[in-house]
Point group: C2
Chain length 224, copies 2
């Protein structure tokens, strides 16, 4: 019984990988670099993105694919920034899918004018588990982890922290009000993913936003 | 393709329901009431539980089943309270299961001395999506939502907020430091689940913990 389950899961992952490669080929052909942005619910993904886009990415033309189980609250917020935003709701699926997969992203590609952008930021569903298991064709992966969530999170959600090249430590304006040791968090991150880059930010005060904007700009300009 | 996927998912849910009923029958036979405690990563599930158990539940003998993808950090913390704690790691599954299901709970039942407790609190994996889709045989469901996560969360994760009888609004000591309107959160909750009870708490300052302890005590004493 258990064996069968694992075999089925492997097949699903393989299908996802095939479609992810097709997405990636389309992105590369259009010269668009793609970031998969992940994090727990309420970590501040949308707000950091909003802050970075408001700061501006130099000459880079950005677009956003907004993954949500239901509603379009985040997409509406971001569209106020005059950036092309496409909403992708996962709720028609199995009780609301808990992640984006390559096929969902593929089904949204028709609605995105790839020629009009250099960088596509895909904001995944708020979840520290499932999104890490499904590549969608992205060139890079980043995650947001808020200091309000606690400093042991890399140990508790290792797959997610291992999957990302960049960890955005958000809400550092709350540091003095929560029991979070930056030193302990970084030691835990080092244990799980020693190669990960990290930044300390606050979407609320604007701290670190310039650095994130610079990172996004560099990603858009990098060779495939 | 899509049809097949949905059909398989329905079968899985049915198998889960069957096992959940078997769990429930075992709990009822032993006279144990069971709470499924859910919430996003870092919402403060373990810490609230710790605070309530430290406060004490009167004559009620509590036990904890601690669901985590990896590690036993939370179980270790709780066992310091001299309450029986059983650790259930989901990582042998498909990349680390993102939720507990009835069969996982069933597989842990042999390690829990049901005769020695009146109340079993099952702390689910930190996730606002998948755990809401799988009953495990519990009598009641509660979720923790931290004010650091934002006041729009009921609209973005409706299934979870709809599945719970009790919503614990945690970290209210942070209210003045975050952009969270309690009024707006409650209006959103009312829209999604008008029947849900709610409490405002802070595991850090202890505010509301007595009320939560009272609620747990009443749950343990209620008729099945």
């Amino acid at each position: 019984m258990h064996r069968t389950k694992v075999r089925v899961a492997t097949d699903i992952l393989d299908a996802n990988e095939t479609i992810a490669r097709a997405n990636r080929a389309d992105f590369d052909r259009a010269g668009v670099r793609v970031l998969n942005l992940m994090g727990a619910p309420g970590a501040g993904k949308t707000r950091l993105l909003e802050a970075a886009l408001m700061h501006g990415l130099g000459e880079v033309r950005a677009g956003v694919l907004e993954g949500d189980i239901a509603g379009s609250l985040d997409a509406e917020r971001l569209s106020a920034l005059h950036v092309p935003v496409t909403q992708l709701n996962t709720s028609p699926g199995f009780g609301g899918e808990c992640h984006l997969d390559a096929n969902m992203v593929r089904s949204a590609l028709g609605a995105i004018e790839l020629e009009a952008i250099d960088l596509l930021i895909i904001e995944n569903v708020g979840n520290l588990v499932c999104p890490a298991e499904f590549r969608v064709g992205e060139h890079a992966r980043a995650m947001v982890s808020s200091v309000a969530e606690g400093d042991e999170k890399p140990l508790k959600y290792p797959l997610m922290f291992r999957a990302c090249e960049l960890v955005l430590i958000n809400k550092i304006d709350l540091l003095e009000h929560v029991d979070f040791s930056l030193e302990r968090f970084l030691a835990n991150l080092e244990r799980i993913n020693p190669d990960a880059e990290h930044m300390e930010l606050s979407a609320r005060t604007g701290e670190g936003v310039e650095r994130l904007a610079g990172w996004l700009e560099a990603l858009a300009r990098a060779e495939s």
